[in-house]
């Protein structure tokens, strides 16, 4: 039972890792209700969300938000602890796309990074509540525990020079010395 659910998780994580690179190809044939492998988001929404998250935590020497699984984190929570934000995400992602199409005539995910940044900055101005939500959730997904689907392979903790698992303290003590019962 336990090992069964664990292997299902690994399968899913591997799939998602592959899905970022393959996302564009998969998306060609999809429609607005296709969820692909997402739990709440449609494939289209996931592309918009990934583009926004990647401006909030962009790539440099260390991975961008989507490479670290942030959209996966948000997607999971939108049918769990963040169910109450489902409508905000539906509306907010739609508004981000509307901004992108009105300003550049193309969907957000297909724009070059500089134009994506412009749209995300406009989103922060025009829809501050939704943007604050995505910003906070992106930070949680990037800097929080890998157990929730974000911070894949603890990339952000490695970036900060912190050990994973986060237990340097334990290494300094030999618990086998009989100190502990």
């Amino acid at each position: 039972m336990l090992s069964g659910s664990k292997s299902a998780l690994v399968t899913r994580r591997q799939f998602v890792a592959a899905g970022v690179a393959g996302g564009a190809a998969v998306a060609i044939g999809c429609n607005a209700t296709d969820r692909g492998n997402w739990e709440f988001l449609t494939v289209d929404q996931s592309r918009t969300l990934a583009a926004i998250c990647d401006q909030i935590v962009p790539a440099d020497d260390f991975p961008a938000a989507s490479q670290a699984g942030v959209p996966d984190y948000i997607d999971r929570q939108l049918i769990r602890h963040y169910r109450r934000y489902q409508d905000e995400y539906r509306r907010g992602l739609e508004q981000a796309e509307a901004l992108s199409r009105s300003r550049f005539g193309r969907e957000l995910a297909s724009l070059p990074a500089r134009q994506q940044l412009e749209i995300v900055a406009a989103l922060e101005q025009q829809k501050p509540e939704f943007f604050a939500l995505v910003r906070n959730h992106t930070m949680e997904g990037y800097y929080g525990s890998p157990r929730h689907g974000g911070n894949r392979d603890a990339v952000s903790w490695k970036m900060l020079g912190l050990p994973e698992p986060p237990l340097l303290g334990r290494a300094q003590y030999d618990l086998g010395k009989g100190e502990s019962q």
């Binding site: 401006q55 909030i56 935590v57 962009p58 440099d60 260390f62 929570q77 769990r80 602890h81 940044l117 910003r135 906070n136 992106t138 930070m139 949680e140 800097y143 929080g144 525990s145 157990r147 929730h148 952000s156 903790w157 970036m159 900060l160 020079g161 912190l162 050990p163 698992p165 986060p166 237990l167 340097l168 303290g169 334990r170 300094q172 003590y173 618990l175 100190e179 502990s180 019962q181």
Partner: protein
């Protein structure tokens, strides 16, 4: 169900001690706890779902579903909040209560903390008052708490503390890097830094091993069970007497009274939601300041139309916690060594004695810095997102020290818990409703404390600093909540007498932070524990068998 001598409602810091003291004295006890019994295996090290950072919920209760509360803002608008949201003023709901996952700072209040009105006079509009008991009354019980629960540390470096007969039972943990940065700086400023007393094993104690020094402490259950709460000390002792039965998943509905106005037991919903009645000779309410007040207010009857102990409209008033202020310091060298458990060094030079200020509080280095906490603590002017934010995270995460402390709040009668007239929880019970705020002088003290923290950081070499000194628009009761069933000699201005007995129901007791008249400038748990030992000792002394009457 079999009638017992005592029902204790709430298995937290105080309730666990009361259950143990009564059970050891030979009374039959039922200990009711609405939450579960977690163990060291439930640590989980989940930085998004623990008892301190709750964006994905409270790890140790209550859950979000069906447990709302309401708060009323300064404009009179009401807000319904979830248990994992800030305005909820949550502590915890589990065996051990807050002590399962707390940071475990185990402070004694100072003698002046029990005599705030005599020391300073009451600011206009405040309800600042003296306790009816003194530091000296509690001193033996502080000691009992330190030895039975287990406290490490060394407060011999400060003259700003009450006298103690015995030193702490365990030495402090070896100092970390922040200690070595902050200690000489404090001494250069003429201050008296010392090792914080902690309810945490630094050496093997009580049959359990020492702290392994991870950084995942406050908010988490201890993975190696080195943190000492009621769940791994007094509650097992209580159960081992054979006189105490712990019932988890049980939510108290009301305290039952008879036609003569005496308590006759507790009605509660068991873990399957069935309404049960447990009859008893005495009832002890130990649910924490918010929930204890709620239970008394929800216990209405013909003789007590406004709830128990509430004849003079005192239950729920003087709600207080601590006003946390301090400063962030940014350094050009690494100050973070990733060695726990967290706060290590404190000063109590500023708790009392500043002209024109009614008190103050201790200052200490911060307890926890996980990456998720640093996201909103970067130097002022840092963009809140984007490449610059990411790079600032990288640069500052290990080069920051926070000093902050619990400014003692100046209470008011209007800061209070009532029960909401409309909102019900999943058991159908009226929920806590918060309104009012502490006295504004609190914020003046807090601001001075923040500047003192900043000065300490600058002396330690901080190249930038920023102050943390807000003015919350609602009382910040939180995990340090206190004051709602004030202890006093006058039934018209207090709820319990000086041994925690409700003034007009002689077999009903409130023993927890609710009885604190004022809440000190320190984390309150050791005082909660000392009061629990003290009140239990009085109760056992008075106990003359079934049909208790004093």
């Amino acid at each position: 169900m079999k009638r017992v001598n005592a029902v204790v409602v709430g298995a937290g810091a105080a309730g666990g001690i009361v259950a143990k003291e009564l059970a050891v004295a030979g009374l039959s006890v039922v200990l009711l706890e609405r939450g579960k019994w977690y163990t060291a295996a439930d640590c989980r090290k989940d930085d998004l779902r623990n008892q301190r950072t709750t964006v994905l919920g409270n790890a140790f209760g209550p859950e979000d579903e069906g447990t709302p509360r309401v708060w009323v803002d300064a404009q009179g608008a009401t807000h319904t909040v979830l248990a994992s949201e800030g305005g909820y003023n949550n502590n915890a709901a589990c065996v051990g209560g807050g002590t399962l996952s707390y940071g475990a700072q185990a402070w004694r209040y100072m003698p002046q903390d029990f005599r705030m009105r005599s020391t300073y006079g009451a600011p206009a509009g405040s309800s600042l008052e003296d306790w009816p008991i003194s530091y000296d009354d509690l001193e033996p019980f502080y000691e009992q708490a330190e030895y039975e629960i287990g406290v490490s540390g060394d407060d011999s470096g400060t003259p700003f503390r009450g006298p103690r007969r015995r030193p702490l039972p365990m030495p402090p943990l070896p100092p970390g890097r922040e200690f070595s940065v902050l200690e000489p700086a404090a001494k250069r400023l003429g201050l008296h830094p010392f090792h914080i007393p902690m309810a945490r094993n630094s050496v093997p104690y009580n049959g359990r091993g020492p702290c392994m020094r991870c950084r995942w402490c406050v908010g988490f259950a201890c993975e190696v069970d080195a943190k000492n709460g009621s769940q791994n000390t007094v509650i097992p002792v209580a159960l081992n007497t054979g006189n105490c039965e712990l019932r988890t998943g049980c939510m108290a509905k009301e305290i039952l009274t008879d036609e003569r106005g005496r308590a006759r037991g507790v009605a509660y919903f068991d873990e399957r939601g069935r309404l049960r009645e447990q009859w008893s000779d005495i009832v002890v309410v130990s649910g924490c300041a918010t929930e204890s007040a709620r239970l008394l207010l929800n216990s209405t009857s013909g003789l007590f139309p406004y709830g128990l102990g509430n004849r003079y409209d005192q239950v729920g008033r003087h709600l207080q916690g601590h006003h946390y202020t301090g400063a962030l310091g940014y350094f050009d060298f690494e100050t973070y060594d990733d060695i726990g458990p967290g706060a290590t060094i404190a000063i109590s030079d500023y708790n009392h004695g500043t002209p024109d200020l009614c008190g103050g509080g201790m200052l200490a280095n911060e307890f926890i810095r996980l990456p998720i906490h640093m996201v909103d603590r970067l130097p002022p002017g840092t963009p809140r997102w984007g490449l610059a934010h990411k790079q600032a995270m990288r640069h500052w995460h290990k080069r920051t020290i926070v000093i902050m402390g619990p400014t003692q709040q100046i209470p008011t009668a209007d800061a209070r818990v009532t029960v909401d007239p409309a909102v019900r929880d999943k058991w159908g019970l009226p929920v806590c409703r918060f309104s009012g705020n502490v006295h504004p002088h609190t914020f003046e003290i807090g601001e001075v404390q923040a500047r003192r923290a900043e000065a300490w950081l600058k002396e330690a070499g901080a190249i930038h600093t920023s102050l943390m000194a807000g003015k919350p628009t609602i009382v910040s009761a939180g995990q340090h909540q206190a004051g709602t069933c004030r202890m006093g000699n006058d039934p018209r201005t207090s709820v319990v007498n000086k041994t925690c007995q409700v003034h007009d129901v002689d077999n009903l007791f409130v023993i927890d932070s609710s009885v604190h008249v004022t809440n000190g400038g320190f984390n309150p748990v050791l005082t909660i524990m000392a009061v629990a030992y003290y009140a239990s000792a009085a109760l056992v002394r008075e106990w003359k068998g079934t049909g208790f009457r004093s």
